[in-house]
Amino acid sequence: MKASKTIKNASRFSREITLGIGLLIILATLAVVAPGFYQAQPLLSLLTREAPSLIVACGMAWVIICRQIDISVGSQFGLCSVCAGLLAGMHWPIALVGICAMALGALLGWVNGFLVAGLRLPSIVVTLATMVTLREGLRWKRQGEFVTLPDTVQWFGFSQQQGQVTIIVVSLLVLIILAVTARHLSLARDIYAVGSDAEAARLAGIPALRITCFVFVLLGALTGLAAILNMAQAPQVDPKTGTGLELKAIAAVVVGGVSISGGRGSLWGVFLGLLLLACISPALTHLHVEAYWERAIHGGIILIAVAGDRFKQGKENS
């Protein structure tokens, strides 16, 4: 009885286990071949760089679990960064700037959510439109000009190391809160239900449209937070920042085992997926493989992940 339960649990977390093993293999290889990888500072920098992506990926995971998609996060990220940078330039306290960035992100998310849930438009088209609109609007307004930040903003005024630790801790806290919520909040259960069958969820009295709108708002707010954590890592804000972020987030979510057709997946998987993808680039450097291969390898991993899902589902269905 107990053994069978363990097996059941193992199969439930099979994606997380596979990812964990993959990650361990890469790390072990690096430990043997390139121990240089394990110096504290580069490692800390790597994690700091990935922290904003982790937060966006967590939000993206909810959107995809709800059977929607948001490809405008990169543009939202850019807009939030620039606006936060301008506010910080006016010497607003950083906490207030953070709140404003999250509020702006939430507002942008709400626009997407309203168009998708309120007008029943397909999310891929809606967010494609907002992606282009926001990005081009930003380019037109800023003309490519960087926003210079006051000194107090970088690393939140701490030393570099303290700042890096703060950023990593904040992103891990967000991950833990969302992952725990996923399991214990009835709202999270509703999101899974809507993702697995929106019509059935509606018939079960779940406000499916409101929930669909909510996941976009949540992703937007998290994107705002991520923008702040990113902004604190550099002395200025590039208005092009965030380009390609949507693909990175979606890749982490898919590799992390969230079903692209909704209703399934966990945030721990997304975390491991992101780490795995993030390790590829430094691993290549240390193994003296040309960095051009990074994207190709990412693509390969995504294909393997999706094919793995298909295979697993096929087995369950037969």
Partner: protein
């Protein structure tokens, strides 16, 4: 001298640890209708899938026209002349009848020219052959359900099928439509085809079939002449026990009026001026032909359609129901007709399914309480007799009848005052049906007001305290519990027909 078309012997099939078929033998003669009968989960679908090549058997042999067959696959089975007609016809709705038939029968090739004239002629001939009065140029979406099934049959004939499998073809047909279909089936039989006929409706089996094979728990309980054993004998074979012939205790003591509708009207879905009251402890059966507006009425009550006029009173208070969540708050629960599409979430655990509509009551504050959820699920499993390995099992591991009970359990967990059931036993086997009837009566006895939509007249009569009959969106009659099937039918058809 009838010849054997198809002979299956000792067929076994396992899915993981579940043995779906344990050595089933079955034969089909030319010119016979052979009914396949059994409870849900008895192995009928698996057997059919083996004949159509969708599943490979683990053991046993299949002989067609005296030749032993190797491994089948669906395409190969079709070329051998085996065709299957499912409950929901798999036709292209936006294409015409002729195009649909042509698509199935023509040799494919991207650059092959479509022979429009020949295609139309072929369709005409085939439809005439089965005596169906369908125009080849009509679009399929304009056709009624039996007409669509006839198009399927025409396709099968065009593909030179000798064996036609019909899987619950009458599930969503009205009586008149059934007769139309039966006529065609009888014609096919006279033409020397073999027909395997699956249905839960015993009267159909008696009306149509020559022999009946009863499956129980993956084994064949025997093949008999339909007339030789009688209805009781067949049911007994299916369930393996004597059934008390639908003798349900109705102990209705009228309580207060819980649900009252006054002149409820909705232009969009065709509901006209419906007034009705349901008391606590009462089961009101809703009879009518398919399309009479019964489901539409339920949808208004559950906030899925907005009424244009009239009032809904719950416990005497006028209530506005704008969405399903409003309905749940008012204590109205609706178990929808199509449980596979709108009822249970197949990929979620049974306990998540059961708690789904009662998050507010079970988890105040929005924090999931696994213990409480588990308790609720265990109670449902016990009280409704859901056959499962436990509340954590996924809903897709259950048979149809048990999924239906999970859908029911979900709504009972909301502690509703008004329970609306839409075809609660459709596609459910005889044993589970009787259980569900008992549960409905028990719920009424506990003080619930129940509105039961059903197209199964014996069921309506057996379970209801009063019978409301709808026709074309209107409530045309309110009959007492002892009404006869003829009386109900007459009201549903607008008197003149019977």
């Amino acid at each position: 001298m009838p010849s054997t078309l198809l002979q299956l012997s000792g067929i076994t099939k396992c899915f993981g640890e579940v043995r779906a078929l344990r050595g089933v033998s079955f034969d089909l003669q030319a010119g016979e209708v052979h009914a396949l009968l059994g409870e849900n989960g008895a192995g009928k679908s698996t057997l059919i899938k083996i004949i159509t090549g969708a599943h490979l058997p683990d053991g046993g042999s299949i002989t067609l026209n005296g030749n032993l067959l190797g491994p089948l696959n669906p395409a190969f089975a079709r070329t051998l002349g085996i065709a299957c007609i499912y409950q929901q016809p798999a036709l292209f709705k936006d294409l015409t009848v002729a195009e649909n038939i042509g698509l199935r029968l023509e040799a494919r090739g991207a650059f092959k020219k479509v022979d429009w004239v020949g295609q139309r002629k072929q369709a005409e001939t085939l439809l005439q052959l089965i005596g169906a009065d369908i125009h080849p140029d009509e679009e399929v979406k304009e056709l009624s359900m039996p007409e669509q099934q006839m198009v399927e049959i025409a396709c099968a004939l065009g593909a030179k099928a000798r064996i036609i499998i019909m899987d619950e073809p009458t599930a969503s047909l009205t009586r008149k439509e059934q007769e139309l279909l039966f006529k065609v089936v009888r014609k096919l039989r006279t033409d020397g085809m073999g027909i395997i006929y699956i249905s839960h409706r015993l009267e159909e089996i008696f009306a149509l079939s020559d022999r009946v094979t009863v499956l129980r728990d993956g084994e064949s309980v025997g093949t008999v002449r339909a007339g030789a054993v009688g209805e009781k004998g067949l049911i007994q074979r299916m369930v393996g026990r004597e059934l008390a012939a639908s003798s349900i205790q109705k102990n209705f003591t009228p309580g207060a009026i819980v649900l009252e509708l006054r002149n409820l009207t909705c232009k969009e879905n065709g509901t006209k001026n419906v007034s009705l009251e349901v008391r606590a402890g009462e089961v009101v059966g809703m009879a009518g032909m398919v399309g009479a507006g019964r489901t539409e009425l339920a949808q208004i009550l559950f906030g899925l359609a907005t009424p244009g006029g009239g009032t809904i009173l719950v416990n005497g208070k006028p209530t506005e129901i704008k969405s399903p969540s409003d309905a749940v708050k008012c204590g109205i629960a609706y178990v929808p007709e199509d449980r596979r599409r709108h009822g249970v979430m197949l990929e979620m655990a049974i306990q998540s399914n059961i708690s789904m509509a009662s998050h507010g009551r079970l988890f105040p504050g929005g924090w999931l309480h696994e213990g409480r959820e588990n308790e609720e699920a265990l109670r449902s499993i016990r009280e409704l007799g859901i056959k499962t390995s436990g509340p954590l099992a996924l809903a897709n591991t259950l048979s149809g009848g048990n999924q239906q009970k999970v859908a029911l359990g979900r709504w009972l967990a909301t502690k509703p005052r008004v329970l609306i059931l839409d075809e609660p036993t459709q596609g459910v086997d005889v044993g589970a049906k009787l259980e569900i009837h008992k549960i409905i009566r028990e719920l009424a006895a506990s003080g619930m007001a129940i509105l039961m939509i059903s197209s199964d007249l014996p069921e309506v009569i057996a379970v209801s305290d009063r019978i409301a009959v709808m026709r074309l969106g209107e409530l045309v009659a309110m009959l007492p519990a002892d009404a006869t099937q003829q009386e109900i039918m007459a009201a549903a058809l607008g008197q003149s027909v019977l």
